[in-house]
Amino acid sequence: MNVHTASEAIVPAAGEVLLSIDNVSLSFGGVKAIENVSFDIRKGEIRAIIGPNGAGKTSMLNVINGFYHPQQGTITFKGRVRQAMRPHEAASAGIARTFQNIALFRGMSTLDNIMTGRGMKMKRNMFWQALWAGPAEREELEHRLAVEKIIDFLEIEHIRKTPVGSLPYGLQKRVELGRALAAEPDLLLLDEPMAGMNLEEKEDMSRFIIDVNEQYGTTIALIEHDMGVVMDLSDRVVVLDYGKKIADGTPEEVRNNKDVIDAYLGVPHE
C-alpha cells in the first residue's frame, strides 16, 4: 500500500492540482442544480464542499464520479480533460466515494463489502476466477491481506463476518469508508461522513479521515454540515448556494465571508 510517512506529507496549499472543475453546469429539465461552478482540488489536501440544503453539493460529487453528466464545462482529473465519464471509468481512474445515505451491500459481510472495493485491482480473467485456482487464488489471498489491513486500520475486526445490514449506523459508515479505501483511491469523495452520528462517533470518524489523509496521502473532498468538523479538518473550503459558488478559500476566510453568512442565515435571495 502506498504509505506516506509524516515527513513526506505534501504541503496542501502549494500542491499540484489533482482535479479541476471548470465552468460546470448541470440541470435536470428546467431545474438548474449547478450553475457555472469552477474550483480545484489539490493533491494531498482535504477539501470541504459546504452549503445549505439543496445547494448542489451532492450533485457536484455525482458529477465528479460520473453519476451525472454535466451539460456544460469540463472536469480535469490527473491532467485528463473530459466532460463526463461513466462511474466505472471514474472508479478505475482512482476516484472512490461514500454516500449520504449509506449505500452498502447489505446482504454481504463486512469483509465481502470491502473486497468489492478491490474489484478494480483484480485482473485475473474469468476463466481462472471460475475455477478459483492457480493465479486467481493467489490474487484473492493477496487482496484479502490488503483488506485485512484496512479492517485493522478502521478498527472493525470484530464485525468482519457480520452482514452489514445488521450493523449499527456508525459502523456501517465506517465499513463504507473501508470499501472506498480498498480501491486505494487518489481522490476520495465523502458525502456527509458524519451525518447522524453522536459526538464520540464523529470524533472517531474525524480521526480516520485525518489518518487516511496523512498516512496514505489520499486527497479528500468531503461534504459536511457540522461546521466545527469542517473548520477543523479541511485545508480549503468551497461554498455553494443555489447551485452557484459563493466563496472559496481557507476555513478562516470562508467563516468571515459575508455572502456565506447571509446564505446560512437565510437572507432573502434576490
Binding site: 464520479n65 460520473g66 453519476f67 461513466r86 462511474p87 466505472h88 471514474a90 472508479a91 478505475s92 472512490a96 466515494r97 454516500f99 449505500a103 452498502l104 451491500f105 447489505r106 446482504g107 454481504m108 465481502d112 473486497m115 468489492t116 472495493g117 474489484g119 478494480m120 483484480m122 485475473r124 474469468m126 476466477q129 471460475a130 478459483w132 486467481a136 484473492e140 470499501r179 472506498a180 480501491a183
Partner: protein
C-alpha cells in the same frame, strides 16, 4: 413393502424429478431478478427460443425459410444434414449470448433507473417478440428434439423395485423416466456451479453487489451493463438447459413457453431472490402436485395437477409473501 406404499414412493420420486424441471425454469427468473430487479416475463419464451434454435441447428433448417420462399419464390428448407449435437449446443449458446447482448443494447440500456413495472412491461414485449421471431425463423410445427439423452422407463429400476413388494402382490415395479434422472443430475450440477461462482469469484461478488445496491456497485467500479450482459447470458444458458430438457421430454412447441407459468408458483414458494429457494420450491410443487393428484384427485374428479401449484402459491401469498427463503421486504412509508 405394500404396493400402496411403493406407489407413494414412486409418486414422490416422480414428483421430485418434475420439480427439478420446474426449478430449472425458476432458476432463470431468480438470476435476473436478483441482479437487476427485473421480473423477466420472457424467460419461458427464451427456453422455447433456445430449443427451437437447437432443433434448427441439429436438423440443418434454413432460418426464415418460409419468409425467403414467400419473397423470392424459392423452395429452400434445409442447408444440410445438420450439425453434431455438441456443435449445435455450443452454437445455440452463442446465439443466446448474442440475444442477451441485443436485449441489453436495445432494451435495458434505455430503461436504466425506470420503475420496475416499466422493465416488466418491456420483458412482456420481449416475450411476444421472441415468440414471433422463433416462429418466423424456425416454423411453428411441433418438433422432436433429440440430443442423445436416454429416455423412457428404466427396466433395471422396475426389476429392482418389483422385488421390494410383498410376496404375491401384483406389483410391476416403479416407473422412472431416465430423462428425468438426467435432468435432475444436470440441474444439481448447474446449481452447484452457479452457487460456487457467485460465492467465490470476483464476478460473482460483483453480481451480488449489483443485486444489493446499483449505485454503490457503480461507485466501486462495477459496470452495470457488463453485469447485466453476463446475467442475461447465464439466464440464456439456463433457458437453453431447460429448453433441452423440456423439449426432449415433450417436444419443442409453443406450449413449452407456458412452463414459465408453472415457474411462478415455484418462485412465490421459494422467494424471488433465492437460488436454493427456486430449487426447494420446485421440488415442493413437483411432489405436492403429484401427491395431490394421487390422493386428493380421485375425491374431486382428478386433473388437480393443473391447478394445485397455484393454490399452494395463493396460500403462501396470504401467509408468507416473501416465500420460504426470500428476503423480507420492509418498506418505510
Amino acid at each position: 413393502m405394500s404396493p400402496a406404499f411403493l406407489y407413494f414412493i414412486e409418486t414422490v420420486l416422480n414428483g421430485l424429478m418434475t420439480g427439478v424441471m420446474y426449478s430449472l425454469v425458476a432458476l432463470g427468473f431468480v438470476l435476473i431478478f436478483k441482479a437487476s430487479g427485473i421480473f423477466n416475463f420472457a424467460q419461458g419464451v427464451m427456453a422455447l427460443f433456445a430449443a427451437l434454435t437447437l432443433v434448427g441447428l441439429l436438423t440443418g433448417q434454413v432460418p426464415f425459410a418460409h419468409l425467403i420462399n414467400a419473397i423470392f419464390g424459392t423452395d429452400v428448407h434445409n442447408w444440410g444434414p445438420g450439425l453434431p449435437e455438441i456443435v449445435a449446443i455450443l452454437g445455440t449458446m452463442l446465439i443466446m449470448i448474442a440475444l442477451a447482448w441485443l436485449v441489453q443494447k436495445l432494451v435495458l440500456k434505455h430503461l436504466v433507473n425506470q420503475e420496475p413495472i416499466i422493465l416488466f412491461m418491456a420483458t412482456i414485449g420481449l416475450a411476444f417478440f421472441l415468440e414471433g421471431l422463433g416462429d418466423l425463423m424456425w416454423g411453428s410445427d411441433v418438433k422432436v428434439l433429440d440430443v442423445g439423452i436416454p429416455s423412457g422407463g428404466s427396466f433395471w429400476w422396475e426389476d429392482v423395485t418389483r422385488e421390494w413388494a410383498v410376496e404375491g402382490s401384483d406389483y410391476y415395479g416403479m416407473y422412472i423416466d431416465k430423462l428425468d434422472v438426467v435432468a435432475a443430475v444436470v440441474a444439481i450440477v448447474l446449481v452447484v456451479a452457479l452457487t460456487l461462482f457467485s460465492q467465490y469469484t470476483k464476478m460473482g461478488r460483483a453480481l451480488r453487489a449489483v443485486a444489493d445496491d446499483h449505485q454503490a456497485a457503480l461507485s466501486v467500479g462495477i459496470s452495470l451493463h457488463t453485469i447485466w450482459l453476463i446475467v442475461w447470458s447465464i439466464a440464456g444458458f439456463v433457458a437453453l438447459v431447460a429448453g433441452i430438457m423440456w423439449g426432449a421430454k415433450s417436444g419443442v412447441q409453443f406450449s413449452l413457453s407456458l412452463i414459465a407459468l408453472k415457474a411462478l408458483p415455484v418462485l412465490i414458494l421459494g422467494g424471488f431472490t433465492s437460488i436454493p429457494g427456486a430449487i426447494v420450491g420446485g421440488l415442493i410443487i413437483g411432489v405436492g402436485e403429484k401427491l395431490a393428484e394421487l390422493y386428493i384427485g380421485p375425491l374431486v374428479g382428478g386433473a388437480i395437477e393443473n391447478w394445485f401449484a397455484y393454490m399452494v402459491a395463493l396460500a403462501f401469498l396470504l401467509f408468507r409473501p416473501q416465500g420460504l427463503f426470500g428476503e423480507r421486504i420492509i418498506e418505510r412509508v
